[in-house]
Amino acid sequence: MSLTHLNARGEAHMVDVADKRETRREAVASGRVIMRPETLALLAEGGLPKGDVLATARIAGIQAAKRTHELIPLCHALPLSKVVIDFQLDEATSCVEVSALCRLNGRTGVEMEALTAVSVACLTLYDMCKAVDKAMQIEAVRLESKSGGKSGDYRRGVTPPTPIVTGSGEPGVVALGEAAQGSLLRVKCLAELRERLNVSELEIPLEALPSADVAGLKAALEARDAGFALLKEARILCAINQVMGGDQTPLTEGDEVAFFPPVTGG
């Protein structure tokens, strides 16, 4: 995964979106302001000294969405087609739930606009109520969903289905306990498998294997991390010291075992 706002030298830069295609972009963000029950009651009945709290916070959120590019350094100025700010008063948790939806047909996403709208609507709620309650807390400002654009759709708490969509494939390493003295096996996970497991290379003591063969290695890995269960998929191939092998191939100290998906070169 790379950060698009940094160039090859790690300097901040504005992403050139001129060549991106226009697509329908939508983002929903949410947040909440927790307050004393008496404050919430005053807000509900319009008894606060500065007047209509929610109407003011709504306008503030919409204005903020339109001016996001003035606040967030590398954001583009976007001609938003729609901004909706919504408030839910929750007496059970004594808070105001704030949500913002931003939409446009364009070349760049509107997550920052939705997040800015929520943030400023929350700040405005605070400003409107602070005369009676200074202990209010702004919480859980976050993106709930977004759609459109190159990075695809996102919904909080929902992992994307296959095909596996990843970034540019940085190798990752998972430490598996203390490096044992003596007889180690070197295990490599290549290509798609490396990204699915987030493991590039690891070492495992031969003694951890229930049997000194590839099947034993798979069992030992799975015992350490359930994610390795996918090594048992029939499509996953295996090479021992760079020669193709299988579950029955015996393993000895110092062997290099590589797991990888079917090859797709040429």
């Binding site: 290549l190 990204e195 079917p262 797709t264 070169g265 040429g266």
Partner: protein, 151 residues
């Protein structure tokens, strides 16, 4: 000669080098594989080719050795690129030299079929709608199967 490299290659120069000073070569067949801008999804913007250093070169060596055992060849050059490539870039070059055309045509075809199913390379495609690892193709295995049946 087998090479796995990031740099582009010059097919003409490789063919010339293979046949330079040789008058026993009657046929020179080359194949260049290139990055397409459509595959599993449209609008492929590029791909990243990964290999398993050491094993990949060994696997390519075995494929070429098998071709040389099956046909009478005067020389083979096999170059496969790795790293990031964009549509139109050459990925793979096979040049086969032999006394007669049939051997050169068949050996070139054979090397590509085996390379696609046996050499440890993996492609990850980058498209407007996301990145994904390319799935193997059944047709590639059928193509490689043809050479098993002939022997």
């Amino acid at each position: 000669m087998i090479r796995v490299q990031q740099a582009p290659f010059d097919a003409g120069a490789e063919m010339a080098a293979l046949s330079e000073g040789r008058t026993d070569i009657g046929a020179l067949v080359s194949f260049v594989g290139r990055v397409r801008d459509f595959n599993e999804r449209p609008e492929v913007e590029g791909l990243t080719l990964e290999h398993y250093p050491g094993m990949t070169e060994a696997a390519l060596g075995e494929i070429v050795a098998e071709a040389e055992a099956r046909w009478s060849l005067q020389g083979v050059r096999l170059i496969h690129r790795v790293g990031h490539l964009t549509p139109g870039d050459p990925i793979v070059l096979v040049v086969v030299a032999s006394a007669h055309r049939r051997a050169a045509f068949e050996a070139c075809d054979f090397i590509m079929d085996y390379l696609k199913t046996r050499a440890p390379f993996w492609k990850k495609e980058h498209t407007a709608s996301g990145h994904y690892w390319v799935a193997e193709r059944h047709s590639d295995h059928q193509d490689a199967q043809r050479w098993e049946e002939k022997t």
